[in-house]
């Protein structure tokens, strides 16, 4: 593929994405969907920012949320200051302030963090994250008491007559900053600096030999990631009009990591897929099951053990096969496997739900609950037997039949190699 046609393809894709983002609210009109999409947009920026560290530069951070949270705190204080003093600053520019704050904190803390990559970096970011969390309990003047700080975005100066009162206006604000950030981060990957990041990730010694100081490259990547994290934090403040210490907690940092990894850290779209999917699942599932986090963690473990490229790699492989018209060769194996996988999942979900009910501390008595229309009782031995049987039988069948999928993909791989030769 020539350079110009590749570029043209990229431009077409980006224009399509921009059009889709602009048109989405026409399809999904309800308020709850709109607020979910707002959250998705914020999470996408945060996950992309996280992937500048992990996917691009190979830095596994366990404390990235502090830049998000600190950016948010600076934003909310400045917003309240602007409201109080009637300053003519519209809310729409505050994401930039959040970004600059994130950049500032990353620049201050980054130099010692990025001296080493790998495990040391992971531990140091965790320690710094905990430091900020501990400080948030002490410096209540800046971080607020337990319920944090709140603000009112509509009291700020209006930009072009938009008050940012209705959710739809916030959606377009997030869409604007999200698309701009995504485009910027996409472009950074393509610059010489982006390539230097990959070099430092894959082999710091050789990168140093050709003249890139790994420490410096990591530091700059860390600062850029801090900028976009702070920007996401500011958008979150504008969206929710509230911030508290959970926004910079270790749980939030872990969530960024899980989303990015599940989506796939090796490609640019991976974090976007991860953030969208996980935000969707979180909102959908946390209402209907107490075990949502258990499923979340299990999904993460499955991805680590069997799909290191994340969902993006899975989709990309199928896309390639489909484009060359060979997806039908995979379908028989998938059809055979679908039954044991469904059996295994049904057993797993039922068992987890039963476990949550039987140990339920609020309800030590037998309870009835429904999964997919079936009423189950937490103390019903039949339900337990069926769940365990389905789990074990499913697992054994998957083990037995997995070679079908392996063979199908082997054939697919060979066909791909032949086609390119």
């Amino acid at each position: 593929m020539s350079v110009t046609s590749n570029l043209r393809r990229q431009v077409v894709i980006w224009l399509a994405v921009i059009a889709a983002v602009c048109l989405l609210p026409l399809v999904f009109r309800s308020g709850s969907t709109l607020s979910m999409m707002n959250l998705m947009g914020i999470m996408i920026i945060a996950a992309l920012s996280y992937n500048i560290l992990y996917g691009s530069t190979g830095l596994l951070s366990f404390g990235h949320a502090i830049y998000l949270g600190l950016g948010g705190y600076i934003t909310i204080h400045t917003m309240n200051f602007a409201i109080e003093h009637d300053l003519p600053v519209p809310a729409a520019v505050f994401p930039l302030l959040g970004g600059v704050s994130g950049l500032f904190f990353a620049a201050v803390s980054g130099w010692i963090c990025t001296r080493r990559a790998g495990t040391s970096f992971a531990m140091i970011t965790l320690g710094l994250g905990e430091l900020v969390v501990a400080l948030s309990l002490i410096m209540t003047g800046f971080f607020g008491e337990e319920d944090g700080f709140s603000t009112n975005r509509t009291k700020l100066a209006h930009l072009f007559g938009y008050s940012l009162g209705p959710q739809i206006q916030v959606y377009y604000l997030i869409a604007f900053w999200g698309l701009a950030s995504a485009l910027a981060m996409f472009a950074i990957r393509r610059t010489a600096f982006g390539v230097a990041c990959s070099a430092v990730r894959d082999n710091p010694e050789r990168a140093e030999f050709i003249g890139y100081d790994p420490h410096r490259v990591r530091y700059i990547a860390f600062c850029i990631a801090g900028f976009f994290a702070g920007l996401a934090g500011a958008l979150s403040v504008i969206n929710f009009e509230i911030i508290n210490a959970t926004s910079l907690s270790g749980a939030t940092s872990g969530n960024l990591l899980l989303m990015t990894y599940i989506g796939g850290s090796t490609s640019f779209v991976g974090p976007i897929i991860g953030a969208t999917l996980i935000t969707f699942l979180r909102i959908m599932l946390s209402d209907i099951t107490p075990a949502w986090l258990m499923y979340y963690g299990s999904l993460f473990m499955v991805i680590i053990m069997y799909l290191p490229g994340g969902l993006a790699a899975l989709i990309a492989a199928h896309w390639r096969a489909a484009k060359q018209g060979r997806i039908s060769h995979l379908l028989p194996a998938y059809a055979v496997l679908s039954l044991p996988v469904a059996l295994f999942l049904a057993g797993f979900v039922t068992l987890v739900e039963l476990l949550y009910r039987v140990f339920g501390h609020n309800n030590p008595v037998p309870v009835d609950f429904t999964i997919a229309g079936v009423v189950l009782n937490s103390h019903d031995p039949v339900a337990w037997t069926l769940a365990v049987t389905a789990l074990v039988a499913g697992a054994m069948l998957i083990r037995r039949l997995w070679s079908l999928i392996d063979d199908a993909w082997h054939a697919e791989h060979n066909a791909m190699v032949e086609a390119t030769q």
Binding site: S120, G127, I138, G250, Y296, M305
Partner: protein
């Protein structure tokens, strides 16, 4: 004041030794296998909960024996069927695997025992006053914790210096690559060390549970503190881990017990500490310590690796 200092010193010592029971396992696993075990503190929590559960049926003493054995077994199984498989995918995958494991263990604990603390009590046989100093009572259980930690420390030292596996572990601490080249990284040693580290964490949990609080957040609190410990002590240095554990144990207990207005401390330097007291800032102290160490001595107190 004297009794306060004596009590804080003993408390700090026993807390520090407790931290060392965890930090030692973490350091050895990190040096030998190159794996930073995120789930180490979760195994500690599991030890506390299992100790609580077993003590409900057969009493406290069998509990603190069985719980560590169970946790050790769980640890060995994690190594055998999880980590060994993930090892082929690289160090980042191993780290993420233990992170996911910590996540799931916390969830499972909340599923089984709920989100609020459980009532894991000091056994009646140890629930008395050990000694009295200037009118203040010192609980015997604290001395018991110190004694257990001391025995474990002695046993660990003997095992490290007198057994073959101990020698391999020692070699791995100072020259990890050389040990790997000599063909000593037999999977069995990995499994044993991981299991032993887990058992130590479980024991720490089982004896700390009644004295501290047995709650689902005990892992996340301690986990971050442990990483601080092994960085401050110096990666791969057991002595460093010991020194750092005792130091942090003492600093934290003294900061909590000496409820000193910060303004008094910083006033001589022309600063105002506001209305903060030393005990209020004590949760942040280990991490401040970490930052200082990273700036002035990146290899840690006793380490030679950055």
């Amino acid at each position: 004041m004297l009794s306060l200092i004596v009590f804080s010193a003993i408390n700090g010592l026993s807390y520090g030794m407790l931290l060392f029971m965890l930090a030692s396992g973490l350091t050895v696993i990190l040096s030998l296998m190159g794996v930073l075990n995120f789930a180490h503190a979760s195994l500690y929590m599991l030890g506390a909960y299992l100790g609580f559960e077993i003590s409900k049926y057969v009493g406290f003493w069998p509990g603190i024996v069985l719980a560590p054995l169970l946790v050790g077994f769980i640890g060995a199984m994690i190594e055998r069927f999880g980590l060994r498989k993930v090892h082929a995918l690289g160090p980042a995958a191993e780290l993420l695997f233990t992170f996911g494991l910590a996540f799931i263990i916390t969830e499972a604990v909340q599923m089984i025992w709920g989100k609020s603390p459980v009532d894991y009590r000091i056994p009646p046989s140890l629930d008395f006053t050990a000694f009295e100093l200037l009118g203040f009572n010192y609980p015997a259980y604290r001395l018991f914790m110190l004694a257990v930690a001391g025995v474990v420390f002695l046993a660990l030292t003997l095992a490290l210096t007198r057994t073959r596996i101990g020698l391999v572990v020692q070699a791995a601490l100072s020259h990890p690559h050389m040990v790997a080249l000599l063909g000593h990284n037999v999977p069995r040693i990995f499994m044993l060390v991981f299991g032993l580290g887990a058992a130590l964490a479980g024991l720490a949990g089982a004896i700390a549970g009644p004295a501290l609080v047995t709650a689902p957040d005990m892992a996340s609190h301690l986990g971050a503190l442990l990483f601080v410990l092994i960085i401050v002590g110096g990666l791969g240095s057991l002595i460093g881990a010991l020194v750092a554990s005792l130091l942090l144990g003492l600093i934290q207990t003294f900061a909590v017990s000496l409820d000193f207005p910060l303004a008094h401390l910083v006033a001589p330097f022309g600063l105002s500490g506001g209305s903060l007291t030393l005990s209020q800032i004590s949760p942040a102290l280990p991490y401040l310590f970490l930052v200082l160490i990273l700036i002035f001595r990146p290899t840690g107190l006793m380490g030679n690796r950055e």
